[in-house]
Amino acid sequence: MKKRVLSFMMAGILAAASLSACSGQGSATETTGSAGQTTAGETKGESKAAGETVIKVWTNDRHDSEYVDQKIDEFNKTNDKGIKIEMTVVTDDYANMLSMAYSSGTAPDIAGISAGQSGFDLKTFADAKILEPLNDKIKDADYEKVTEASKLQYEGINMIDGNVYWIPTGMRSGVRMEYNKDLVKAAGVTEFPNTLSGVVDLAKKVTDNGGGKTYGIAFTSSVPFIRWIEGTCETSGIYRYDYKNGKFSFDGYKPVIEACNQFIKDNSVLPGSVSQGVDAMRAQFAEGAFALWGNASQEAGVFTDQFPVTKFDWGVSTVPTLDGQVKGALSIQPQKGYMMLSSSKNKEAAWEVIKFFSSEDFLKGYLEGGYCLPISSYMSGVIDTTKTGRLADFKLQDYESVYPAVPAVAIQGDDYVATLWNAILGNVSADDAIKDLNKRYNEALDNDVSMGKIKRLVIKDFDSMHPNAGTIEYSDK
């Protein structure tokens, strides 16, 4: 009799457990425990409803969490609107996590975003109605004064068809070259070269001088082409998209591929660097293993805090161009914007939080901490640049600008970053790589345009030096 009762109890527990496991879809995935009381924070002038409004914010950046967490604490304690911000850092698979959270009903109210976020396509998210357009809200006078939002609307980057989804509050500079001043001086070079062939020679000189211990240049396994070589292409007037004719054209890359292939032929590249991750290479730069490195303004923080360079003096230079002259703008990435998700139940409160993150008080400390460069001229004027450390070396050149977003096509096979890098390594000839890229990218573009997925971008009066100043047209064929 006892055994029977016991077995019935076990069966009952098992059934209950399996049923609850099947139905408990969204509730187990909260990272921060509470689904606090939420009340509509809409009332203005009426007395505040009881309870507080919890606004969930996601961000992809962990490097600034010290400052941001501290400011959030202050806000939570002192704000008079009953808003409590809960911040979650999601570093991996950001775009995937957002779309999965949205489809399962656990999406945050606000998601931080920067241009160039890998895997994230604004148009896909906008078309799926996941994001809330902010056009009316950004007209707020205070907001406009600090962020200059009306000047920072880039089609395809933070705006689709006139709907603005986020406004950047900072930017990442264009790419630069960082170099070991001691090694360069020891190789007998006094001024950093401004031509690509000059840099190739410099790398060779440093390697010859290094006697097998120190090398001229190093790359990395993680998208090496965009670290500085793409910057050289842009400033030499070479770009992958032909805006005037509305198609992809990779022909201009041939001289750059051949010049960079010379690094490999000269053996000036640190052995094994091509297959190692970014952080391993940064560590070796800090050890003085090689002289030339390339990356954008985030290296200021990296070489000051993450891998402090103490053994030598390091300098920053603009990227070289093909012939020493600047023929095109260097692309910069607008960063640190905040998107509101359409599934948010407290849109007014969420807007207050966005205003807080874009306020002068928040941004002044953030930009002075050197976490990124200011993007609005108002903030540039307000901050004290002596506090930003090495970030000052990465200050904006007058030929840096945002490029209009290239149509995002679903290509088959490797993207242009991987293919061009393959050609630089010498695994495939420059001509073959260029022909292959032209074919695949234009086929995908024609295909996607004919299916109605995207529209062809044409800027008939495109000017390489002022890429964002032309008239943007969209074509259906």
Binding site: D93, T124, P271, G272, Q276, A280, A283, G413, V417
Partner: protein, 306 residues
């Protein structure tokens, strides 16, 4: 002559046999199987004719199929999958069998060794692949440092970045992670062979090696058949450790079928191409199914040995 039972009598008969209670007990498992395995499998077939990016699906007919047949990277990855599976199986199966035979003897410490060799199975493959990534590293890598100290090499070897040896490194990690598992399976098979047979063959004057080939192996054949099938299908489906170690390797050298499919959906280089990935998964499943069927055909003789 059997008379036809009425419906009520048939119900009573099956109740007394325990049909209802067994059906009820099977229900949770069948339900879970349907929801977690069968439904997603059918869901796949919705998307093989579409270009689906996770949000909107565009009908494209047979384009996914024509693309698959022209996709050189995919077919190269199929080749790499076979290369990986063959290399892994050639090493792991004899090794596990040898260790199982050695540790089956009642010598001191065999229990401890069994536990140690089984531990890699308990650790997640992503975790130990991450650690092996550090061991195989060129700069500050453990393995290179040891080999250099021992004087066996002069400059660090690029274990995971050089196209010629990346597959060997991956197979080393796979063997390390899997042999404990197969060793335990073999040991359970060995334990079913009775001692008397060994005694009688010892009396006939057989030494260790002879008794292994003439007694152990034949008696293991039904177990061997099952283990071999498991090993083959697992080796063909392995992708997590390769993804963590090399992410497809230098210039797609270590790309296997499932890393390619995974990157089409979850990779950061492209918006998700779920429709195409679905077609590739169906193809990959077909390939593994064919290989398993071929294996079962050749292995049916193993059942007749004992």
């Amino acid at each position: 002559m059997k008379e036809k039972l009425s419906f009520g009598e048939r119900l009573q008969k099956s109740a007394s046999r325990g049909d209802f209670s067994s059906a009820l007990m099977l229900l949770p498992a069948v339900f879970l199987l349907a929801v977690i395995s069968i439904y997603p499998f059918c869901w796949l077939f919705r998307y093989i004719f579409y270009d689906y990016n996770g949000f909107t699906a565009y009908y494209i007919g047979f384009k996914n199929f024509t693309r698959m047949f022209q996709d050189a990277v995919f077919w190269r990855s199929v080749l790499h999958t076979f290369e990986y599976a063959i290399m892994k199986l050639i090493i792991i199966l004899p090794l596990s069998l040898l260790l199982a035979v050695l540790l089956n003897q009642k010598i001191k410490g065999s229990g401890i060794f069994r536990g140690i060799y089984f531990m890699p199975t308990v650790i997640s493959s992503a975790v130990y692949s991450l650690i092996f990534g550090f061991i195989f590293a060129v700069y500050n890598g453990v393995l290179n440092a040891y080999l250099q100290k021992l004087g066996m090499i002069h400059s660090p070897i690029d274990w995971l970045g050089s196209a010629s040896i990346v597959m060997i490194s991956i197979v080393i990690v796979a063997v390390w992670g899997g042999f404990g598992n197969y060793m335990i399976l073999f040991m359970s098979g060995l334990s079913s062979i009775s001692e008397e047979i060994y005694e009688s063959c010892k009396m006939d004057g057989a030494n260790g090696v002879q008794s292994f080939f003439y007694i152990t192996l034949p008696m293991l054949s039904p177990v061997l058949k099952v283990i071999l099938m498991l090993a083959i299908t697992t080796a063909l489906k392995d992708y997590e450790s390769i993804l963590v170690l090399t992410n497809g390797g230098p210039n797609s050298r270590s790309e296997v079928m499932f890393t390619y499919i995974y990157k089409l959906i979850f990779g950061s280089q492209t918006t998700p191409q779920i429709g195409y990935a679905t077609v590739l998964s169906v193809m990959a499943a077909l390939i593994i199914g064919v290989i398993t069927a071929v294996y079962m055909y050749f292995a049916r003789k193993l059942d007749d040995v004992v």
